[in-house]
C-alpha cells in the first residue's frame, strides 16, 4: 500500500504539491488525472523517493519511502512518459536486465526475471533486438518490462500513451490489464482519461498541486470538468 499524508513539495518557493493526502491500496487501479502543471509527476516521484517531501510523508508498504529508497524503488516500478529517457542499454535484454543487475541478483535469477518480464509484455525471445529498431508501442512495452523485472508490487506509469498510436495504446493497455489481473496495483498519470476511466477503481483529480477529488470513477465522471482533462465524448471544440 502507498500512503501519502499531507505531502507538500516546493519548487523555487512555489508549491508544486500542497497538502496532498491519498491512499493507494494493493491491487487497486488508480488514475491520477489533472492538467499540465497540476503536480501529478511530482507526486509519483515521491512514491519511489526520487524527491524528498518538504513536509508530510509518503510510505510504501508501511515504510517511509525516503528511509529505504531501494525498497521503495523495488516495490514501486516506474515507467516514464518517454521510454527513450528510460533506456540505459542498446538491446532489449540488456535494458530489462539493468534493474535486477543493480540489485546484485545472481545471473540465473536475472535471466529468469528478464525472461518473465519480456514474456509478460509479449516480447519473449527478443532480448537481442536493438531498442532503437522497435516501434513506439514495442518500446513502451520494453519500458514496462524494465519496471516489471524489478518485480514491483505497484506499477506507476507517467503519461504512458503520449505519442503512441491507437494499436500501440491498446497493446500497452492489455499489458496493464494483465498486471492488474495478477494483483499488481496500477497508477496511471494522465491528462486524458478516455480509455482509462472504465478500468479504474478510483480517480484522483489534481489541480494546482492539490487533490480536488478522490472518488470512484462513476462519481468522478461528473467532476472531471473541474480539472480540465480530456474525457470520453470530448471533441476538440
Amino acid at each position: 500500500m502507498i500512503t501519502v499524508d499531507n505531502l507538500t513539495h516546493f519548487f523555487d518557493g512555489e508549491p508544486a504539491l500542497d497538502g496532498v493526502s491519498l491512499t493507494i491500496e494493493d491491487g487497486e487501479w488508480v488514475l491520477l488525472a489533472g492538467p499540465n502543471g497540476s503536480g501529478k509527476t511530482t507526486l509519483v516521484r515521491h512514491f519511489n523517493a526520487l524527491f524528498e517531501p518538504d513536509s508530510g510523508e509518503v510510505t510504501v508498504d508501511g515504510t517511509p519511502a525516503g528511509d529505504d529508497p531501494v525498497a521503495a524503488r523495488t516495490s514501486v516500478g516506474m515507467v516514464f512518459q518517454s521510454p527513450r529517457d528510460q533506456f540505459v542499454a542498446a538491446t532489449v535484454g540488456a535494458d530489462v536486465a539493468f534493474g535486477p543487475e543493480n540489485l546484485g541478483l545472481d545471473h540465473d535469477e536475472i535471466d529468469r526475471r528478464v525472461e518473465a518480464a519480456l514474456a509478460a509484455v509479449q516480447m519473449a525471445g527478443r532480448e537481442d533486438e536493438r531498442i532503437d529498431s522497435l516501434s513506439g508501442g514495442e518500446q513502451a512495452r520494453v519500458a514496462i518490462a524494465g519496471a516489471l523485472a524489478m518485480e514491483p508490487d505497484h506499477l506507476v506509469l507517467d503519461e504512458p500513451f503520449a505519442g503512441l498510436d491507437w494499436p500501440a495504446q491498446r497493446s500497452v493497455l492489455r499489458q496493464l490489464d494483465d498486471r492488474y489481473a495478477e494483483g499488481m496495483s496500477i497508477v496511471v498519470v494522465t491528462h486524458d482519461v478516455r480509455d482509462l476511466l472504465s478500468r479504474a477503481d478510483s480517480v484522483v483529480g489534481l489541480r494546482d498541486g492539490s487533490v480536488v477529488f478522490d472518488l470512484p470513477p462513476e462519481q468522478a465522471r461528473d467532476r472531471l470538468s473541474e480539472i480540465d482533462v480530456r474525457t470520453p465524448g470530448d471533441s476538440s471544440d
Binding site: 516521484r45 519511489n48 526520487l50 529508497p69 531501494v70 524503488r73 523495488t74 516506474m78 516514464f80 518517454s82 527513450r84 529517457d85 528510460q86 533506456f87 540505459v88 542499454a89 542498446a90 538491446t91 540488456a94 536486465a97 539493468f98 534493474g99 535486477p100 543487475e101 543493480n102 540489485l103 546484485g104 541478483l105 545472481d106 545471473h107 536475472i110 537481442d128 533486438e129 536493438r130 532503437d132 524494465g146 524489478m150
Partner: protein
Amino acid sequence: MLTYTPGSTVVHRLDPRTKLCFQFGFAVAAFATPTVLRLAGLFVVGIASLSLSGLAIREALRAYWFVLLVLLLGPLIAAITLGSPWLRLDPAIESLRSVARIVPILFVSAAYIHATPVRDTRAAIQQTIPGRPGQLLGVGVALTFRYIPVLRDDLRQIRDAVSARGGDTRSMQDRTGRIATLILARALSHSDRLSVALQTRCFAWNPTLPRLEFARRDYLVLGATVLLAATVFVPL
C-alpha cells in the same frame, strides 16, 4: 553511426577483455615505425577485423568520414609551403605515412564497437581495473556509448527544425551558435532524465555484471596479439 549490433560472428563471441587487449596490441604495432610493408599488414588485419565482425568496410568509412577528412588535412597542410615551390611532396608523404596508421586502428575499433555490448565493455573494464577507478571508467564508458546516439538524433532534429523554417539562409555563425546552444540544453535535459531513470532502477556502482569467460579462441587471439605487438622489434 556505429553502435553494437547483435550477431554471432567470431568477433561477437570473443571475450571483451580479449578484444580490448587486441586493440591495445594493434595500436602498439601501428605506432611503430610506419614502413609501407608494416602499414600494408596493418590494413590487412584491420580489414580482416571488420570482415570477421560482420561490418562492411564502407559502413566503417561512413561512420568515420569526419575523422578521415581531418586526417587527410595533415598531408595537405604538410605539402604546402609559404613560398616557392608552394607544394612539396616529401613532407606530404611522410605525413601521410603517419596518419595512415590511424586508419586501421579505426577499423579495429569499429569492429569492436559493432560486436561488443556496452555492458560487456563495462564488465571487462571493471574486472580488469579493480576498485572505484574501474567502476568510474566502466560507468563512464557505458553512459558515453548510451548518450552518443541520443545526441546525434537531437542534432539531426535541431538541424531539421532550423532548415524547416528557412534557417539555412542565415549565416554560418548564427546557425552554429543556435545549434550549439540547443544541443547543450538538450544534453543537460537528457542527463537530468537519465539520472532519474538510473535512480528509479536502483543504479549501483557495482552491480551483477555479465559473465565473462575465456574460451580457446580467446587464447588464440591473445597469442596473435602478442605476436602482433612483438613485430615492433622486427625490422620490416
